[in-house]
């Protein structure tokens, strides 16, 4: 056995530096070349997967030579697209259930931040191609977030780790077992005193049981947990309020008034999808329902939840506690507001009155980044308002062991430093990158004698470990996981592991020195042993089929407020008085989260809410602060916080609290992979264990440098055009037609050409998008990308204005730049009945069918781009390069493609098709059964993903369909209807439900 401890960190660093240029299977074949030759680097550059690569239009010498060669045979090379010759071997024995061309759906679940979201995954001929939500699962309700939608790309990511590595060199599982056994024998003698396990948040019952068994075998060993975005504050808050760790389970269904204390509960909460559904259900307004809930949002930087607020108060994160305390005092009949100036005082009394008017029908919810006190105050206010048992319930935590993760990691780091740790096994996680900077994790990790890292990527932490074990993706291995409310799902794989990868279950089994069981056996044995089902096999099958174990949700629990009457003590230290001192805030990024999705091209190209930046991170500064410091977007600043410095560009964010600067987590990775490396800036460098989420004392200075940020929306001003329409609930009650006041839309069928073109036996497909419930979470965008094989184009192409996404979310700001009202507007193709794009195409490559679909015939398109010019909505996308086809170089991405959707070649226009392939599938099915397509049978990818059910698709010729009913609503309007385009996609106007008390003063 080699002694890994012998290899000094210096060597590792050198190897790491060399390997940074290599990828996949090439590097061990030609390690020397990697280090020595430029040509090899160049080859790597070209060999990037297209989804990952960015287009550069420089002509190198090499390309020049190629070009000269090409010019000789010009006519030859460009006259046709040659398809590769591939031999197809048909099934000798067709597997049961598989009908070629017909997808199968399997229920499974995706763990994210430890918690489950139930999924239905589509499988085409044995490979998973699309992730959808499981309607039966309480944390999904059929919807998904961006992260679930994009997770499928991680499975096929060519940068994924594919083998066992020893000190960066490819090794084998057998060699690893040998090395491990040596260490374990040593530990057995010490009862495991030198053995430490570090995991992220674990809810898997099987894994938890395995870990317990391991700790039983090695009683002196310890299990630590850390993930950068954790629930420590919520747990400590519950401990403060109730003396035990409980999780609040909110029910937004019947709520009238919501106060969110810096909580992004629609997006960043483990139950975000269900909360979104319930919250938006309470905001759906129609001619016969004129009730709406009301959301007050107090937050430091604009969030997806904040964009839905009826009243939003930008406040330093540190000032939220004062706000909450004063409000709690008032609710408890205490003194009138004194803290925080006029606006805040008015706010507090108005909110207090409103909450009190709606006792038992309100919710106060605190954000995970707020200190425990704020959580305790929220619990207390819910108690005071009589919400407990009605809108707020309590359960135990679904986590296997809800410890304070920062303490847990601190303890581990201390022991590593003292040399007490001989062997550290990390199951997932990337602490070298994301542990608090003051822990100096990497340095201390180097003192551990045997370091083992199980991870899907050879990331920053792997580089510091002796052994790296490639981890299986959740779509290719068995496991189980619990949702936030405790509902347990068995994770069933859709495909055999693509590479030589292992799961955490298998690794723990090896630590138990019981190798040989597969994950399937481990999970199944656990559930057999649990004896939860009298008749195992049918119940097990049912659990797999349903995607959840019925009745596994945690029972609600009666808790007693331990602070009866009194208020929790204030947080120690100056958590951030409102003043000139700048406050630093950290939040997970809405696209790459804590960095774990950094190598996911779809998420990188998803434009972040508000800034609409892609592929980058920027420090978000408020408008007044930018004015004070004379900052412009993209100006690079030097940030200094407690002696640590970081240079990064700024982005001026309307709605940001004046003296608070938001630093998004998750960027600046150095070993994420080809997609994620060198994007954005690593803000973990400023994050300390004592200031995990926010703290005052940030210093900022301009450097004079500029950095190019690729934003997809430059203008957020609607310029007085009726593209989005909004108003208040009161206006709607007074005059339901108020949004049509200044409308100049021509009458339908006011045409010389073909009046009544769409006759009744045909379907008339149409879509309604409800601006009142759209939260702008981007799930539809990534869902569309996944369904329709939309390529990723890279930062420089996005910066040029060539993003390919078929649906985009426009955000318009209204009101002052300090705190604007936000309207989210998803914009897919409008499928105009009178489409301007159609008549200008010289080859008739775009035309509409008898069902009103505006079609794009890729084969016929020659690429004049006239249609795009003439599209007033600018929803058409053009393949300026062969974006989609460059994927061919990354073989692993091929099976991810939806086989029902053409991959478009260079020079061809494309756009939203209303998921034509899904309409066709439904049409075939209905014809076979001799009936019309039923309402709801065709669901577009965007509508299916939407947690708010803001997108409704269907047959408008059927008066009973949901979409037809919505189109008859008074709030329905067509964008740019005055151009007589007669769009089939229409919108429902956005309404706000402001509190008259606050409105009058504002």
């Amino acid at each position: 056995m080699k002694t890994p401890a012998a290899s000094a960190p210096l060597d590792l660093a050198a190897i790491r530096a060399r390997l940074a240029g290599a990828r996949g299977q090439e590097y061990w074949r030609s390690l020397d070349e990697v280090a020595q030759t430029k040509e090899f680097q160049e080859m790597l550059q070209r060999e990037f997967p297209a989804n990952a690569s960015e287009w550069t239009d420089d002509v190198s010498r090499r390309n020049f030579l190629k070009l000269m060669g090409a010019s000789l045979a010009l006519a030859g090379v460009t006259s046709c697209t040659r398809q590769p010759i591939q031999k197809i071997v048909p099934y000798v024995q067709q597997p049961e259930e598989i009908v070629l061309g017909k997808p199968l759906f399997f229920a499974t679940a995706m763990p994210f931040n430890g918690f489950a979201t139930g999924l239905l995954v589509r499988s085409n001929e044995g490979h998973p191609t699309k992730i959808e939500g499981n309607p039966e699962h309480p944390a999904s309700l059929g919807a998904t977030s961006v992260f679930q939608q994009a997770a499928i790309l991680n499975l096929y990511d060519p940068d994924r780790s594919q083998a066992v590595l020893e000190a960066g060199e490819v090794s084998t599982w057998g060699l690893f077992l040998g090395a491990l056994n040596g260490g374990l024998e040593e530990q057995r003698a010490k009862r495991g005193a030198g053995l430490r396990i570090l995991t992220e948040t674990i809810t898997s019952p099987t894994l938890a049981a395995q870990l317990q068994a391991l700790l039983k075998k090695f009683p002196a060993a310890k299990w630590h947990q850390y993930q950068p975005v954790n629930r420590d504050n919520a747990h400590d808050g519950a401990r403060m309020a109730f003396g035990e760790v409980v999780e609040a389970q909110h029910d937004f269904d019947k709520v009238k008034v919501i106060l969110s204390l810096d909580s992004d509960f629609l997006f960043a909460h483990p139950e975000g999808l269900r909360y979104t559904r319930q919250f938006t259900n309470g905001r759906r307004v129609s001619h016969d329902r004129t009730e709406m809930n009301r959301l007050y949002q107090v937050e430091s930087s604009p969030t997806i939840t904040g964009s839905m607020a009826d009243h939003r108060l930008p406040l330093n994160a540190g000032a939220v506690e004062g706000f909450a305390r004063t409000l709690a005092q008032q609710l408890g009949g205490g003194a009138q507001a004194q803290a925080g100036g006029d606006v805040q005082a008015r706010w507090i009394s108005a909110v207090a009155r409103d909450l009190q008017r709606n006792r038992g029908a309100s919710i106060v919810i605190a954000g995970e980044q707020q200190p425990p006190v704020v959580h305790a105050l929220a619990h207390q206010m819910n108690d005071q308002l009589g919400n407990v048992g009605k809108t707020v319930g309590y359960t135990a935590s679904a986590e296997a062991q809800p410890v304070n993760q920062i303490q847990s990691l601190r303890e581990l780091v201390r022991e590593m430093d003292s040399g007490a740790v001989d062997m550290l096994v990390m199951l997932g996680g990337n602490p070298v990158y994301n542990a608090p900077a003051d822990f100096q994790f990497a340095e201390r990790l180097a003192k551990v004698k045997l370091r083992i890292h199980l991870s899907a990527y050879q990331d920053e932490t792997s580089a510091y470990c002796h052994w790296h074990i490639a981890e299986s993706n959740f779509l290719e291995a068995w496991s189980d996981v619990r949702a936030f409310d405790g509902t347990t799902s068995i994770i069933q794989p859709l495909i055999a592991p693509l590479y030589d990868t292992r799961t955490a279950h298998e690794l723990i089994d090896v630590l138990m020195q019981q190798p040989g069981r597969s994950s399937y056996d481990i999970v199944r044995d656990y559930w057999l042993a649990r004896k939860v089902w009298p008749d195992f096999e049918p119940s097990w099958r049912k659990a797999l089929h349903d995607g959840l174990i019925a009745g596994s949700a945690l029972p609600s629990r009666a808790v007693q407020l331990k602070m009866a009457g009194g208020l929790p003590p204030a947080s120690a230290g100056p958590v951030g008085a409102q003043g000139e001192r700048l406050e630093v805030c950290f939040r997970p990024d809405p696209a790459v989260w804590d960095g774990r999705f950094a190598n996911n091209g779809w998420l990188q190209e998803t434009s972040k809410p508000f800034s609409k930046i892609t592929w980058d991170s920027a420090a978000q500064v408020s408008v007044p602060l930018a004015e004070r410091l004379q900052l412009a977007n993209g100006d690079v600043v030097q940030l200094r916080f407690r002696g640590r410095t970081l240079r990064m560009p700024v982005w001026i964010t309307p709605g940001q609290a004046e003296n608070s600067i938001l630093l998004p987590l998750g960027y600046g990775r150095t070993r994420a992979g080809h997609v994620g490396n060198d994007t954005g800036f690593d803000t973990y460098l400023l994050r300390e264990s004592e200031a995990l989420w926010f703290a005052p004392g940030l210093e900022i200075s301009k450097t004079g440098e500029q950095y190019k940020l690729a934003s997809t929306q430059q203008s957020h001003n609607v310029q007085g055009r009726g593209l989005v329409r909004d108003g208040t609930l009161a206006q709607f009650r007074a005059n339901p037609e108020f949004i049509h006041a200044n409308e100049e839309a021509p009458k339908p069928n006011n045409t010389l050409y073909n009046p009544g073109e769409y006759k009744s036996p045909d379907y008339a497909w149409g879509m309604v998008i409800d601006l009142n419930t759209c939260i702008g979470c981007n799930a539809c965008v990534v869902a569309c990308q996944s369904e329709n094989n939309i390529p990723v184009v890279g930062k420089s192409e996005v910066a040029r204005g060539r993003d390919m996404l078929w649906i985009r979310i426009d955000q318009y700001f209204r009101g002052g730049a300090e705190n604007p009202k936000v309207t989210n507007q998803p914009v897919p193709c409008m499928h105009c009945e009178n489409a301007p794009c159609e008549l200008v195409c010289p080859v008739e490559a775009t035309l509409h069918d008898h069902e009103g679909l505006n079609l794009q015939v890729y084969n016929r398109c020659v690429g004049t781009r006239y249609c795009s010019n003439n599209c007033p909505y600018k929803v058409r996308r053009f393949n300026f390069f062969a974006y989609g086809y460059a994927d061919g170089k990354a073989a692993s991405l091929k099976p991810m493609r939806n086989p029902d959707v053409t991959v478009r070649w260079r020079g061809v226009m494309e756009k939203c098709t209303y998921c034509l392939q899904r309409i066709s599938a439904a049409r075939i099915e209905s014809k076979k059964q001799g009936r019309r397509i039923r309402d709801g049978e065709v669901v577009t990818a965007c509508a299916q993903a939407c947690p708010a059910e803001a997108i409704i698709f269907g047959d408008t010729s059927d008066a009973g369909s949901r979409v037809a009913k919505l189109k008859a609503e008074p709030l329905n309007f067509g964008m740019l209807g005055e151009l007589n385009t007669r769009p089939r996609t229409t919108y429902l106007a956005k309404l706000l439900n402001p509190n008259p008390d606050l409105e009058a003063q504002a």
Partner: protein
């Protein structure tokens, strides 16, 4: 034109002594002392002996290098795709269309001079029509390349042509781009035939004067057996007149059709009924500017002052002044209609044009295309070749900017503000643009070198008429 006493006293040597009318305008369309022999000798000698050869080679080297740059840029374009240009969404048409319209416009002066002025019996056209017709051909050749190159899949350009195919597909006749195909191809064909028919007698002259057998052979083939018989002349003249009649409506139709590419679209800044007349005026405007930019150096270098006289320059300047005023009126009407329509999109378009991010282009356009050409009111400017050259150059720049403003500024900001984006040309855009200038100059220099640039037969007619007036 009646001549008076005054004569030109200042200016280039060759122009001194040139007679003026009593009002002080240039009078002669042919220099003094020109006879059949001098005309034939002077013009055919350029083709056969080519006096300032060194200068020609310098010019040709530059032009040919630019042409090579063009070929390089185009090869790379076909290899990599349209993405090497700066076009994006929403500005899906960039330099290619700007250049296309600019070149097509330049071509118009040639047809205007040779066809319309022929029909309205403007004798002064005879000494410049050959050159301007050649210019038309070359400009249309440059123009015609852009719509093909700018396609996403240029190798499928023939799908725009109506040909019977196995799938029974035809072009979509509602699209102005299909009209463009017809308009431009017709224009090129008619211009080519018209030019060639006019060349026949001169080719025969060159054949007859050629010394080497090779020249005799080539020019002989090109002359198609022209012997100058009365029957030849009779047929030639009627063919020429008929072709002039055919070409005349093209002057109006081609650029009208090109303008419909914009008018038919609903983009604010494009969707305007004034475009056809205003584009035609602009085309003739820029065409004459280009003719002046070519003719002024040429008459100097090849000492053609007695064929291309100050009278010609003055007349062309007058046409420019008139069409320039029409174009200015067009600008004014666009602004007026934007306000008068009450359409917020049109109104914003106008404000954005002048004060948006591309405002510099608009004001540069106003300067080069409206303000500077006002100098043409001065007779001194019109009859001073160097000043006229500068004004014409300004107009050429201005007309390019006009198309830039129309195409780019309108597209960059249309209906939906969320997708307003800027367009930045890449080096490939510039290389392609200057490359076509290289192609144009290369063709022009080859033409000057190998074909008679002034119509000898027609100038000889002029000599006859002059001799009748003043023997």
């Amino acid at each position: 034109m009646p001549e008076g006493d005054p004569k030109i006293t200042k200016g280039p040597e060759a122009d001194v002594g040139y007679p003026l009318t009593p009002l002080g305008y240039p009078s002669r369309i042919l220099g003094p002392g020109e006879t059949y022999d001098t005309v034939t000798e002077r013009i055919s000698s350029i083709v056969l002996r080519h006096p300032p050869l060194k200068l020609w080679w310098v010019g040709f080297a530059i032009a040919f290098s630019m042409l090579m740059m063009f070929l390089f840029a185009v090869t790379w374009l076909l290899y990599r795709g349209i993405g090497i240009w700066g076009v994006n969404i929403p500005v899906a048409w960039g330099f290619a269309i700007v250049n296309f319209v600019w070149w097509i416009g330049i071509g118009h002066a040639g047809t205007f001079i040779s066809a319309i002025l022929l029909l309205v019996l403007q004798k002064w056209r005879t000494s410049i029509n050959r050159l301007t017709e050649a210019m038309t051909l070359f400009a249309v050749a440059c123009a015609g390349m852009f719509p093909l190159l700018h396609l996403g899949r240029p190798w499928l350009f023939y799908w725009l042509l109506p040909y019977p195919d196995t799938m029974g597909l035809w072009p979509q006749f509602r699209s102005p781009l299909v009209w463009d195909v017809f308009a431009v191809s017709t224009y090129f064909t008619v211009s080519l035939i018209f030019w060639y028919v006019g060349l026949l007698p001169d080719l025969a002259t060159v054949r007859d004067r050629a010394q080497t057998w090779r020249k005799k052979f080539i020019y002989g083939v090109l002359a198609m057996g022209w012997r100058g018989s009365a029957r030849h002349w009779q047929r030639h003249q009627s063919a020429y007149l008929l072709l002039a009649g055919l070409a005349t409506p093209l002057v109006l139709s081609v650029h009208s059709v090109v303008s419909l590419d914009f008018s038919v679209a609903i983009v604010p800044g494009w969707h305007s009924t004034i475009f056809p007349p205003y584009f035609v005026a602009g085309a003739i405007y820029s065409g004459f500017a280009m003719v002046l930019n070519i003719v002024i150096p040429l008459r100097r270098i090849y000492k053609l002052e007695s064929y291309i006289t100050l009278r010609h320059l003055n007349n062309m300047a007058n046409v420019m002044l008139a069409t320039g005023m029409m174009v200015a009126y067009g600008y004014l009407m666009e602004a007026f209609m934007a306000w008068f329509s009450g359409d917020i999109y049109e109104q914003y378009m106008m404000v954005n044009r002048a004060f948006g991010p591309y405002g510099w282009a608009f004001w540069a356009l106003m300067l080069t295309n409206v303000l500077i050409p006002q100098a043409l009111w001065s007779r001194r400017v019109r009859t001073t070749p160097i000043l006229l050259f500068l004004v014409a150059f300004s107009v050429n720049v201005g007309m390019w900017l006009e198309r830039f403003v129309i195409v780019i500024t309108s597209l960059a900001r249309d209906y939906v503000p969320s997708i307003w984006r800027m367009y930045y040309p890449t080096r490939w855009d510039w290389m392609t643009f200057f490359g076509t200038i290289g192609l144009f100059l290369t063709l022009l220099l080859l033409f000057i070198r190998f074909l008679p640039m002034i119509s000898m037969s027609e100038v000889r007619e002029l000599v006859t008429e002059h001799e009748e007036v003043e023997p």
